[in-house]
């Protein structure tokens, strides 16, 4: 499955087993998107939150 990058319009591949909440990266411009909806062939994405200072494990 493919979805269009909201920044540059390139096609981003979404694998069959990817889940809502996962982050996908545009191969062309490197923008990160979070998958917000995935129902069958229907996929929605939004720009991912940028890495925060307090992020980690």
């Amino acid at each position: 499955m493919n979805i269009e990058c909201k920044d540059c319009g390139a096609q981003i591949t979404v694998t069959q087993d990817s889940m809502v909440g996962e982050i996908i990266t545009c191969p062309d411009c490197g923008a990160d998107f979070e998958i917000t909806l995935k129902k069958g062939e229907l996929i929605e994405i939004k720009p991912a939150e940028s890495v925060g200072e307090d992020w980690g494990q």
Binding site: M19, V20, G52, D54, W55, Q57
Partner: protein, 286 residues
């Protein structure tokens, strides 16, 4: 049937595997985006159909911490609890907890202004390792080789200007092999112990920056120190990081609260996520 709720900021390898394991074991998995949760002073537990036990896996320290405090006040059981997350997410609080429980740890100093930090570093002598209080994956961890490096660091901290950037965590540089040890502890069990070898031309050993992993042969001393460190911060599901000082032996330098286990999974013989789920289910039946 037990419903396990995994709260995330984003789904990493770990959260996906946890979700699969929960289902595989015949429990219900509820993956919840912590960024979407809202609470109110009148909120009640029944308003939230989350699950019987909450596994807090948020990447953002502060978001995870405060979401946990809201959930705990509603009566949810959260792993790890607020009290543990608060300590582990903060290197200063972690150092103090380790010292209090006589866990060997690098000698570390704290300063609360830029000028006192510079004075302190001059007095301690270089090289030194300076780390942010909050943060991970080796970001902001610097080897300060001399006074001019210290000045540059302090200038950049001043520029950031956040309250935490003016608190300095200054550590002796440990003379160690180019690796450190990560032990994953669940309650009183060490379920994985791995070496993390530094990537070439890199002094940090974080897997996030290219470090490679290898299994560690456990020994009684390593086991004892690791379990004592876990206990010092309140226990639960933890990643204990140790360095091997060439003279003093094992030193615990960090405890991770939402431990990543991708690297450890590849070399460990134990099923780490399965052990985590077993612990969660055990805790919620208590």
């Amino acid at each position: 049937m037990v419903q396990v709720c995994v709260i995330y900021d984003k789904i990493r390898f770990e959260e996906r595997i946890l979700h699969n394991k929960i289902t595989e074991k015949g429990f219900t998995s509820n993956l919840v985006d912590g960024k979407s949760l809202v609470f109110n002073t009148n909120s009640e537990k029944v308003d939230f159909e989350l699950g019987d036990i909450i596994f807090q896996r948020e990447i953002s320290h502060y978001r995870g911490l405060y979401v946990t405090s809201c959930l705990e006040s509603l009566g949810f059981k959260v792993i790890n609890p607020f009290s543990v997350s608060e300590i582990c997410g903060n290197k200063l609080l972690t150092s103090l907890a380790l010292v209090k429980h006589h866990v060997p740890t690098p000698n570390t100093s704290f300063a609360f202004s830029s000028s006192s930090a510079l004075q302190l570093m001059d007095k301690l002598g270089y090289p030194l390792v300076v780390k942010p209080l909050v943060g991970s994956w080796g970001r902001g961890v610097y080897l300060i080789k001399d006074r001019s490096a210290a000045e540059i660091l302090i200038d950049s901290r001043e520029e950031i200007g956040s309250p935490l950037s003016r608190i300095y965590y200054i550590q002796e540089k440990i003379d160690r092999p180019p690796r450190d040890i990560r032990c994953i502890v669940i309650a009183e069990n060490i379920v994985a112990s791995i070496y993390r070898n530094a990537a070439e031309n890199e002094w940090l050993t974080n897997v996030a920056i290219g470090g490679t992993t290898e299994q560690v042969q456990m020994n009684p001393e390593l086991e004892e120190i690791t379990l004592r460190a876990a206990k010092a911060v309140g226990g639960g599901i933890l990643g204990i990081d140790l360095m091997e000082d060439t003279k003093r032996g094992y030193l615990v330098h960090e405890i991770n609260n939402t431990v990543e286990f991708r690297g450890a999974s590849m070399v460990s013989t134990q099923d780490i996520p399965a052990a985590m789920i077993d612990y969660l289910v055990h805790e919620c039946r208590k």
